[in-house]
Amino acid sequence: MNISEKILALASGREEVAPGEIVDARVNVAMVNEITGPLAIEAFRKIGVKRVWDKDGIVMVLDHQVPADSVESAILHKIMREFAKEQGTRLYDVGQGGVCHQVMMEKGHVRPGELIVGADSHTCTYGALGAFATGIGSTEMAAVFATGKIWLRVPSTILVHVTGRLQRFVTPKDVILMIVGEIGADGAIYKALEFAGPTVEGMSVSGRMTLCNMAVEMGAKTGIINPDEASIAYVESRTSKPINPLRSDPDAEYEERLEFEVSSLEPQVACPHAVDNVKPVSEVEGTPVDQAFIGSCTNGRTEDLAVAAAILKGRRVKEGVRLLVTPASQEVYLEALKLGLLEVFVKAGAYVCNPTCGACFGGHMGLLAPGETCISSSNRNFVGRMGSPEASIYLASPATVAASAVTGEITDPRRLMAEA
């Protein structure tokens, strides 16, 4: 069996499972944020069960609209706090956490071999540590709160094997954008994507998160990577709970195997208004931008901020362009502070703000006006995602975003740095 099948077999108390089978699985951890949590809480109350199945199995995070930007969001936050208090569940309040997926990883709530559901589509990010993690909706989450169980169809798996050494300023984001372009927005619906190969093994946990994060952009149920020394060291430094890393058998079966060689890969850009509308940066260089955004669960980590700072150091954001930088969590914020990255951003003329989903989701800050263009390190460029339906969003790596903020037009970071 492959890793996804093994985890689902374990979670449903079976020796073996096969793609297509429907299993009734026990959930290890369930996550909600303030956009999906209040609806889940409301639905949970309707079921009529008094206590959640396991208070330690539930993690709640305020991240989408923090600090509260309106009375409505303040009410959502309050509903979350009251529920956490009543049930004894863990809540990461304003100032304690950051973007939910980053917090889940950093705070040791993600462990290999476990089944995790989150009421957020990018829950698939946790596959970076070898957990089987998938997004669900609020009503379903209420049922998980009550029962600790969920039905799942065992997905077939596409193995994505990546080889080759990435060039300088070409990043895991460029790899995953290229893969999304190849597989397409619906190319992996109902399936699992297992990322493997030397390039993936050579990536930090942060880079692996960027890969798995965008699995859902191909319709996948999850993205997952076999745990190795690097990911196990990450987990062990963050939890004292025992772990059970499961790995794909050497003779595991896959529906399909895709091979990619990335040593000559150019930086990639997903063009408006679809995540799979991916082009090499050379085809869109020169497109003027009004706003640039570095942050989100895709690319708001220290590694991402560091590559952006390397480009922005001693340079300035182009007059007429605004650059927003949002560390993905309090931990990242502090690290970036200690490393002097925040100073680089501020000196370059960037707007640095608190950990939040913020501009990624067009909820409460950094919104776009009609006719404006944004280049963003996040994961979705749908119509209206970041504000006006008449705005355009390009997705790229933090390096490409930083380089574009300097020149005011979409720019290959390799070229900018070669000219220096």
């Binding site: 609806l39 669900i136 909706g137 319709g219 067009g362 409460h364 119509v383 504000g387 339906p389």
Partner: protein
């Protein structure tokens, strides 16, 4: 279960940001969500849907976020059923869980024009285009999903189960 309505037709990859944008998600009122349903694609949609419609769409309907507000907005806007070539999986589960019928229906986009009158037999997975006089077969819903829809959604379904067994 039989569902009838006029068809409203959309293309491929209709995502949750166009179904209901992030900036409206602070409300818990489904009627308010419904007023913005499909705003990114067709601002007239809520007035069209009010009399009860069946949405017909291409591939990957509902892709994007896990926001349950997306199927809720459609349901409260007046959508009685969604027929698509394929669905994004989280949207599909969410729709079933809130009691909005969804049927995977390969080939459907070629057989329906906007405004056609449709009759859907959910239990049999049969769709009839009454305007064009065509009948075609969708993928049948597994029985346990059909039961959730029949009960009006997962919460009602669980309540019944709990009622019978007294515990979860």
């Amino acid at each position: 279960m039989i569902v009838k309505g006029e068809a409203v037709v959309f293309g491929d990859d209709v995502n949750t940001d166009v179904i209901i944008p992030g900036r409206y998600l602070t409300t818990l009122d489904p009627e308010e969500l419904a007023r913005h349903a499909m705003e990114g694609l067709d601002p007239e949609f809520p007035s069209k849907a009010r009399r009860g419609v069946i949405v017909v769409a291409g591939r990957n309907f509902g892709c994007g976020s896990s926001r349950e507000q997306a199927p809720l907005a459609l349901k409260y806007a007046g959508v009685r059923c969604i027929l698509a070539e394929s669905f994004a999986r989280i949207f599909y589960r969410n729709a079933v869980n809130i009691g909005l019928p969804v049927l995977e229906c390969p080939g459907v986009s070629g057989m329906v024009s906007p405004g056609d009158r449709l009759t859907v037999n959910l239990a049999e997975g049969k769709v009839r285009n009454d305007t064009k006089g065509l009948t075609f077969q969708a993928l049948k819903l597994p029985e346990f999903l059909l039961n959730i829809i029949k009960d009006g959604g997962l919460i009602e379904h669980l309540k019944r189960r709990l009622g019978r067994r007294g515990h979860v």
